[in-house]
């Protein structure tokens, strides 16, 4: 078995908020052409309200640009993906981002900002990690919709038919990845680390309400890394709000528009560095950094079809009048897998979505598990299970010797 997989004991997932792949990592195509980033303006642009083409531009700012928050509810994302085509045989063309943003302020110049992306230098943490480790060219949000239902896919492998921000009360039949792990024999450990009690979690309706013992804070995550007490599986949530604490002012670091991007960069770096600073942990841990959904911001890759889920959202729930069978993924998001066993500059072209998270964790720590949603059972896994027969073409932790040239950040 490859040494990296053999040694792997901990998987950490950090899920940030509301940014698309092209917006964050699109500039990297110029550095590594295998990364499916910004293509030239003739190949991809978006029509504005007067049907003039708007091209992607490297003008994204850290804050005060995407006001109001770009719409990313189901009907708006439908417009962004299909460009307003409502026909029965329509195909996603990614032509409605500017139109959708224009609908919010009726300001043609302002609506162009939805096509802005970050030059590499502005995001030193995320772009360095993408270039140093494995970046996923085809990691999509699970649903063309907002946060809560997309995050549910990371916890349960389904949103139980929801495409909106309403509370999700899962039926007993499908357990969260955390319940599976702590209920397993031999028992595994799992924790959801929210930033602090003032930011709390987005997984309120079920997990916090019924299993608060699963939760820890960011400062506990740092301590657990330092002391080598990290659980088998950790899910880390950022700070969702600007707020005051006993120790001072906390700036939101989730990168949700219109929160400051640099605060998010520092947060990502601190999670990475907390793992790396403990040599035993660094050797035995894989960190996935991903975003829950695209937040209404442009991307040029049409989301693919996927197998239907067992649930359906009716036409009223989708807000489009047309039911949704969970048979298409949402817009592409940045996703990076970090481990010292991954070759520098790895680029992955297989299709993933957030259902891949419980699918991978389950397969790696528990083997087979039932019942799971059809979406989870059909989702690809990003870490191969430990065992003799590991497919080298699929294994990302493929180095025979651990790297010693990994970057450090001054956090």
């Amino acid at each position: 078995m490859p040494a990296g997989l053999d040694k792997l004991q901990h998987i950490v997932v950090l899920m940030m908020e509301n940014r698309s792949f092209d917006h964050m990592l699109g500039s990297l195509k110029a550095v590594n052409p295998k990364i499916d980033g910004i293509v030239d303006a003739d190949t991809f642009n978006n029509p504005d309200a007067a049907n003039n083409p708007v091209k992607p531009q490297p003008k994204a700012e850290f804050q005060a640009q995407l006001q109001p928050d770009p719409d990313h509810h189901f009907p708006a994302v439908d417009l962004q993906i299909y460009g307003g085509d409502k026909s029965a045989n329509r195909q996603p063309n990614m032509q409605g981002f500017v139109k959708s943003y224009f609908n919010q302020r009726r300001d043609a110049a302002h609506s162009q900002m939805i096509m802005y992306y970050f030059p590499k230098e502005k995001l030193p943490v995320l772009t360095t990690l993408a270039l140093e480790f494995a970046v996923f060219n085809r990691w999509f949000a699970s649903i063309p919709g907002p946060t809560i239902c997309n995050r549910a896919f990371a916890h349960y492998g389904t949103s139980f038919g929801r495409v909106d921000l309403n509370p999700i009360y899962p039926p007993e039949t499908i357990k969260s990845i955390y319940s599976r792990l702590i209920g397993a024999s031999p028992k595994r450990t799992a924790k959801v680390y929210y930033y602090d009690t003032t930011s709390s979690t987005m997984e309120v309706a079920n997990l916090l309400q019924n299993q608060p013992e699963l939760f820890g804070t960011y400062s506990q995550f740092l301590k657990d890394c330092d002391k080598g007490n990290l659980p088998s599986y950790s899910f880390v949530e950022p700070n969702y709000s600007d707020h005051e604490t006993d120790s001072g002012e906390e700036v939101a670091n989730d990168q949700h528009p219109d929160h400051n991007m640099q605060a998010g960069e520092a947060f990502i770096a601190s999670i990475y560095q907390a793992i790396k600073n403990n040599p035993d942990l660094w050797e035995t841990t894989a960190l996935l950094i991903t975003y829950d959904e695209h937040g209404g911001i442009f991307d040029h890759v049409p989301p693919p079809d996927c197998p239907k889920d067992q649930f359906t959202a009716d036409g009223n729930a989708t807000g489009t009048g047309v039911p949704f069978h969970f048979d298409r993924l949402g817009v592409r998001v940045p996703s990076i897998l970090v481990s010292p066993w991954i070759p520098k500059g790895s680029v992955v072209d297989r299709v993933f979505d957030h259902a891949s998270i419980p699918a991978t964790i389950t397969k790696f720590f528990l083997g087979d598990w039932a019942p799971r949603s059809p979406r989870e059972t059909s989702a690809d896994i990003f870490i191969e299970p430990q065992g003799a027969a590991v497919d080298p073409a699929r294994n990302l932790l493929s180095l025979d010797v651990m790297r010693t040239d990994c970057p450090d950040f001054d956090v």
């Binding site: 928050d69 030193p124 013992e213 709000s241």
Partner: protein
């Protein structure tokens, strides 16, 4: 590899008066829902429709998150405390009281020097 500098956000990035997003609004509604399932003594007195800003939202979120944790910790503590067999114990205490009343003697004064010799540690004062 060289140490990579991570710029910090400017002080002006902090704005607790920013109107809360639809995400924070939904988080508050979820917490309100969760709060409604707690015993009355753990519920906050917030009227969530008055919450407008991130700073206000954060205060409510903290109150309810801490209340949820407190409610579960108290319930766990109660589960761990062994239940008393009330009828028998009450009867036993009653018997004991009768016995004590009949055999009560004046208490002897404790010898402080004896305690020192035995090296007994002082108990910390109760706050």
């Amino acid at each position: 590899m060289a140490l990579i500098r991570v710029p910090k956000p400017p002080k002006s990035a902090y704005d607790p008066d920013r109107p809360m997003s639809s995400l924070l609004k939904s988080q508050i509604e979820h917490l309100r829902d969760a709060e409604g399932k707690l015993p009355l003594r753990y519920r906050s007195e917030w009227y969530i429709k008055t919450i407008r800003t991130e700073g206000e939202a954060a205060k409510y979120i903290r109150d309810v998150t801490e209340a949820i944790h407190a409610a579960h910790e108290d319930a766990e503590r109660a589960r761990r405390t062994p239940k008393r067999k009330r009828v028998i114990e009450i009867a036993a205490v009653a018997d004991e009281r009768v016995e004590r009343a009949s055999t009560r003697r004046p208490r002897k004064k404790r010898d402080a020097t004896k305690r020192k010799k035995s090296g007994g540690a002082k108990r910390p004062k109760k706050k």
